[in-house]
């Protein structure tokens, strides 16, 4: 009896019952969002395969997988029966119209087939020859909605294409299309560097017999000869405010780092070693430079304040470390790690000092971050040919772009477009 009483007492005291069950879910089943992209209504007729460009942009990230529409072709939200799209999580549909003056207008929607809601509904209008640009913007919008990161499909890259002794300085869309040649020589071209606003490119040209630094406007194609001192002039890097550059000169001895205004004036020396100091690059806040130096006996990466001062060594692993570039958020840097005769692309976190090797190894050089910090572009070699490659910042997704002819060297990713 007593037991019973005590039980009941406990029961009474314990009310009201909050009857929630705790369940912990860890891990994931997938890393690729299944998305169905329906060819936009009218894109065949107008010869603008926007949906194909969107699809290839998204697939290239490695974060999406295409779901076959299996014959279904809705073009408007009301035509969509969500029950038919169980295999997808997202559905992209759209329509193209051509206006009287030859412009095209695209209405597209991104639908969440799981929650059965509309995620994006936009209309874009542009000149008919800008179809690829519009497709890239649509891909950017979808990418951003599904992953939370800003898309880089509308950005550009620059690189040198070399065939024998013939060198071309090229800028192209981030998918390799739309190549424009800025400079073509029978002498070497090196180290292209985008200005922060994307309107100019600095580079090293040997057109006068040795290394000179030029800055060329992409709007007017006019050039400024920034440095032509005795010896070699090289390694231009723009400051984040676009007003000055860091360059490397040898006219006072070994390769040393200098600052110069974008018109070539006000030259100041900021490194003072009698060894090699090169490859300067500005931090996003403009306060620090990373650079490569062999002042410690082997090529390693150092950091110093922009106006000069003592340099702190950052890399201690492997044989040599070259070509540092800050991440856009300034928390890490990517570099070429040389160890055991093999080049790797690696990232090092400033705070934890942990390095993560992103690539399997080979002739992997000249890494640079995409402006959203999620991808790294670099040059590598496959079957003896110099090609472009990208790897995601966590090392999981890799992608290669092979040129039709020639070898690609010295790639660098441009900034976000501000149009």
């Amino acid at each position: 009896m007593l037991r019973l009483y005590s039980l009941f007492v406990l029961l009474c005291l314990a009310f009201p019952a909050r009857a929630v069950l705790d369940i912990e879910v860890t891990g994931a089943g997938e890393h690729q969002v299944p998305i169905a992209i329906i060819p936009f209504d009218g894109e065949d007729a107008l010869n603008q395969h926007i949906s194909e460009v969107v699809a290839s942009d998204l697939i290239r990230t490695g974060l999406f997988k295409l779901v076959d529409p299996e014959g279904k072709a809705p073009h408007e939200a009301k035509e969509v029966k969500y029950a038919e799209w169980a295999k997808a999580e997202a559905l992209a549909i759209g329509k193209l119209f051509r206006s009287a003056d030859g412009r095209i207008e695209i209405q597209f929607r991104l639908l969440d087939t799981v929650k059965k809601t509309e995620l994006i509904g936009q209309a874009v209008s542009a000149k008919s020859e800008q179809g690829r640009a519009i497709a890239h913007r649509i891909a950017d919008a979808i990418y951003e909605k599904m992953t939370g990161s800003v898309g880089v499909f509308s950005t550009r890259i620059a690189y040198v294409n070399r065939q024998g002794r013939y060198n071309r300085l090229v800028i192209a869309d981030s998918d390799g299309y739309g190549e424009q040649t800025l400079l073509a020589l029978n002498q070497p071209i090196m180290s292209p560097a985008w200005s922060p606003d994307g309107n100019a490119l600095a580079y090293v040209s040997f057109e006068q017999g040795r290394a000179f630094v030029y800055a060329q406007s992409l709007l007017t194609q006019q050039r400024v000869l920034l440095a032509a001192f005795p010896g070699s002039n090289s390694a231009p890097a723009w400051s984040p405010d676009g007003q000055q550059l860091a360059i490397v000169l040898t006219h006072e001895g070994s390769s040393q780092i200098y600052l110069v205004r974008k018109d070539g004036s006000d030259l100041r020396r900021i490194s003072f070693s009698d060894t090699i100091d090169t490859e300067p690059t500005f931090s996003p806040d403009g306060r620090y430079l990373l650079f490569t130096s062999d002042r410690g006996g082997s090529a390693q990466i150092y950091r110093m304040p922009v106006n000069g001062g003592s340099a702190e060594r950052l890399t201690f692993e492997g044989s040599n470390n070259f070509s540092p570039r800050f991440s856009p958020d300034g928390k890490s840097f990517v570099f070429a790690h040389f160890n055991g005769g093999i080049f790797y692309i690696a990232v090092q976190d400033f705070e934890t000092k942990q390095i993560q090797i992103l690539t399997p190894g080979g002739w992997e050089k000249k890494p640079s971050f995409a402006p959203n910090g999620k991808l790294v572009l670099f040059a590598t070699e496959v079957h003896g040919r110099g090609i472009l490659a990208t790897v995601s910042s966590d090392g999981r997704v890799k992608q290669k772009m092979t040129p039709q002819q020639g070898d690609i060297r010295e790639p660098t990713w441009g900034p976000f477009n501000r149009q």
Partner: protein
């Protein structure tokens, strides 16, 4: 929002009902209906060595035992739940005549859950052996109930009650362990189904955690939207977790209605 509304009114009425029902049960027990007397012998028998998968003996009782008819056919969950709630639900059946079945079930469920919550801390997961044994026990108990109703109404003795209570306590302890095993199994099933529907966005921090509250309708569908209690800080990850919960419908639910009631409200903590 809807879940808050769901809780608040019931909280107090549930408490009041629990109190009322407890008082009634107490008085009933005190004044003692003899139909308790017959169950102890059934429960006493040491039938809990193995777990036979099908429990054919459960089949017969369905008509007079509506709340346990369906689970009886399916075995495990029903068998687990039945004994600890046996006394309560037997009283419930009586109350059904007075048409207070639903409220009491609620209270019973709450009290039963409370009991389990208290006792389960020491329990380890039980194998199916306990389940089968409980099933058998329940079947036997129910059959006895039917036959001995009239006899129970007449006989009563304090000593018999003592015995009953001891048996009940012991049974409660053992069946709580079995219940816990069943609960754990369904938790695993739900966890696995949601997990395999998660599409992981890139660059999610290792210590990210998104917490959702979901109300599950009978049959495993989720009522309204999963409610985000705590964001992981990564909107894409929150979305991916929410989509996974949607895609995992219908969630695996235990067949026993009483056990399923434990799964009515779930707090899902989703981590990479």
């Amino acid at each position: 929002m809807s879940t808050l509304a769901y809780y608040e009114p019931h909280k107090f009425s549930a408490g009041a009902l629990a109190l009322v029902v407890h008082a009634i049960f107490f008085s009933l027990l005190y004044f003692s209906f003899n139909w308790h007397v017959k169950t102890p012998p059934a429960m006493e028998v040491a039938m809990w060595d193995k777990l036979p998968e099908p429990v054919p003996e459960i089949a017969p009782p369905p008509p007079p035992v509506p709340p346990q008819a369906e689970p009886a056919v399916v075995l495990k969950a029903a068998e687990l739940i039945a004994p600890p709630k046996a006394d309560i639900e037997m009283k419930e059946k009586k109350k059904n005549k007075a048409e207070r079945g639903k409220k009491e079930k609620l209270a019973a469920k709450k009290s039963a859950k409370l009991e389990k919550a208290k006792l389960a801390e020491q329990e380890k997961q039980r194998a199916q052996a306990a389940q089968a044994e409980l099933a058998k026990q329940q079947a036997q108990a129910e059959q006895q109930q039917q036959r001995d109703k009239q006899r129970a109404a007449q006989e009563h003795s304090a000593r018999e009650n003592e015995l009953i209570n001891e048996r009940k306590a012991k049974m409660r302890a053992e069946t709580d362990a079995a219940t816990q095993g069943e609960v754990a199994r369904y938790k695993d099933l739900i966890q696995a189904k949601i997990r395999r529907n998660i599409v992981m966005p890139p660059d999610v921090a290792e210590n990210a955690e998104a917490v959702f509250l979901v109300i599950v309708l009978p049959g495993g569908l989720v009522m309204d939207n999963p409610r985000l209690l705590k964001s992981s800080g990564n909107a894409a990850y929150d979305s991916a977790a929410e989509r996974a919960i949607y895609k995992a419908q219908p969630l695996p639910m235990p067949q026993d209605a009483a056990l399923a009631r434990m799964f009515r409200e779930l707090r899902l903590s989703v981590k990479p």
